[in-house]
Symmetry: C2
Subunit: 388 residues, 2 copies
DNA sequence: GTGCGGTTTGATAACGTTACCAACGAGCCA
DNA sequence: TGGCTCGTTGGTAACGTTATCAAACCGCAC
């Protein structure tokens, strides 16, 4: 690194002590708020400190105390509303406990996550919240071995004995899809943002994003419970891009026996799916019933308002931070999984099976990875937000 | 703090040195990657380090180097999509420069911001990005005096000689509203999320959120340029809550000479306004033309797609981080304001002045701070996101 | 065998705080 | 007066790294 000038020398405890005419240790006790000191000296020291403009050096303090009063947080992407909320939840609880939060984005890349965790270990954070993207947990175990408690957020990791804070993804998905089956739907499609690992039935957590797998399992269960045969499963895996989900839905809806109900397992998929349905002029729920995962701020903006599975995202983050605070304070309870409830929020996007299949207005092209402009709009967002 | 056990002792350089049979200084040079050392000893030390599981103590390093490789970021609320994006922009550039980001939310409270900045000073962050909520800048000057460069994000602060990264709010707002006037609109309303400081014409930055004031000024200019009299200004200040904006729009639209065009100066206002218009069954742009500020992910989801003023939010954050990196590396350039361009994105929510005033379907109540349920929906989001 | 550049090496002193401990004085009781 | 306790005080040793500097070493020319 060329030319990195050191910051200017700052006022230290010895300076204040000299100026106050007391010993270093005394000044240190007053300024550090520990030990005992007489009211008189306390006043003298404080006055000297104010006069000189002293401010504690937290680095030096951390050096000796071994505590940095810092939490490391690794999420896929703060820009994603889900993680933003979770981070907020962590930050609020952390702040109350006098901890600050260092943020790192993994972009779903295991290597990025690992190097972030490594940095956090070196920085001696007091605790770590991770929404794991990496399939293994060696790096996390290393952190634990180094005395840093780790809490997994949003996703579990098989084989790891770590505190984990998740929602009942499987149950929530099953409950949601059951609404469809109870209303008589049999052609129920699901659109999910994940890599297309088709044999995810195996439920190999860590092999893919855990939540997705769980939600798919819930979907499958609901179908099975309704006596719908395996062959009737309509699953579309799309990448972490809204336009992919859009294409997937356009393709699904162009089928002669198109689905009458649609379940999307994350924000991005929901966004793309709705985009497609609206362009097709599909009536919701007249032509298709829709349930999305996660209660985005726009879920109540679209008409009809979207029925969703709502997660207590902020609480999830808060709980994670809470567990860390407890562990930092010495709790040695056995790590366990905390499963919060995700609730189904009924709005207006679900209804009975349509009596007949109404033709939709298809634009020129109907499928393929690249979406075609439907015309009329000359502005599209420059950046497409990532998954969930 | 009761019962806060210290973390376990970790492997240090002396440990590695002993194990490798070399002097501390030598081991330190190898592990720290500075000074010179023979290939043989380097190998020995590295092997010993690996064997013992040594990892650098960044705190100790910071202690002596005076650098923490950390950036402090204070925004109003990460949960807000705008700030989330900005933070992402900061984080990305910071990461490339080997810096980590510590996050703090001010919730638009000056005191919260100040204590966060104070903590950052004590922690000896290398730089500070602040979206100021406090009207004064004493605390920021203190940071600068302590050798910590500060960059203001999103909002300027009068009288502060600090690097500032903003968009041309006034110009962008004026350009947007001009679309309305050019199309012949004369009854143009603006809904803004800010405290109702009516004489904001004075342009006292810091007295309120700067961006809002600027955008209102742009609105006023556009009206004036079109020869629309002062008295025809239709400004509604609402709190940082979507339902407030909704009520404001319901009230606006219930007027006999209701507006034919609507400009919202932030995300939350846009969300509330659209909610109201949709409930009223208002045709967009048939009955009202709408332009919003900030290109939210749902702007292209609603039909018609929403025309907006789009800010390069991520670049804003990136630029802020970039400036900091430069200053950390010794740049002493005079602090200046960097104004990025916000662009108008034309979609389908704007049109000509309607020929006649079509009656709207009003629900029972039309105004008042508390919004009434329009019925039919049994689920509303538990949390209403905050401003912008 | 001696002298001389250069690299490599290792003691030791920072950095600014807290932890530890011995010393001091006041107050009290025997 | 001696002895004890207790609040207060200040010197000094940590913490784990980097910075400094002198000593040791090497090869090579004289």
């Amino acid at each position: 690194m060329p030319n990195t000038p050191r910051p200017p020398r700052r006022v230290t405890i010895p300076d204040v002590a000299r100026h106050a005419g007391v010993g270093q240790a005394t000044a240190a006790r007053v300024l550090g708020g520990y030990g005992s000191s007489s009211a008189a000296t306390r006043e003298r020291v404080l006055a000297a400190a104010a006069e000189l403009g002293y401010s504690t050096n937290a680095v030096a303090r951390s050096m000796i105390s071994g505590r940095t009063h810092t939490l490391g947080v690794v999420v896929a992407d703060v820009e994603n509303a889900y993680f933003a909320r979770a981070v907020r939840g962590v930050t609020d609880v952390a702040a109350k406990a006098g901890l600050q939060v260092v943020l790192a984005n993994s972009d779903e890349k295991g290597d990025t996550e690992k190097s972030a965790v490594q940095m956090f270990i070196e920085r001696r954070v007091d605790g770590l919240v991770v929404a794991p993207a990496a399939a293994d947990h060696e790096h996390l175990d290393k952190a634990v071995a180094a005395g840093i408690p780790v809490v997994l957020l949003d996703r579990a990791l098989s084989g790891a004995t770590l505190d984990t804070v998740v929602v009942d993804n499987r149950g929530a998905a099953e409950a949601a899809v059951s609404r469809f089956t109870e209303a008589g739907h049999t052609r129920i499609a699901v659109v999910t943002s994940a890599s297309p690992d088709e044999n995810a039935t195996q439920l190999a957590p860590g092999a893919d994003i855990w939540t997705t797998t769980e939600r798919l399992t819930g979907y499958r269960r609901a179908l099975r419970a309704a006596g719908i045969p395996r062959g009737a499963e309509l699953i579309r895996h799309t990448g972490y891009d809204r336009t992919w989900a859009r294409s997937a839905v356009l393709e699904l809806m162009s089928s002669p026996d198109r689905p009458t109900a649609l379940f999307t397992t994350d924000n991005v998929a929901t966004l793309g799916a709705l985009d497609a349905l609206l362009d097709l002029g599909a009536r919701i729920p007249g032509d298709v019933s829709v349930i999305g995962f996660d209660d985005a701020e726009w879920a109540t903006l679209v008409r009809p308002r979207l029925s969703v599975v709502s997660q207590p995202v902020q609480e999830l983050g808060g709980l994670a931070a809470d567990i860390l605070v407890r562990r930092i304070n010495g709790s040695t309870a056995r790590p366990r999984r905390h499963t919060l409830r995700a609730t189904y929020v009924s709005r207006e996007s679900t209804g009975p099976v349509p009596e007949r299949v109404r033709p939709l207005r298809f634009p020129g092209e109907t499928d393929g990875p690249a979406s075609t402009d439907v015309g009329g709009r000359d502005g599209t967002p420059a950046d497409t937000p990532r998954h969930r």
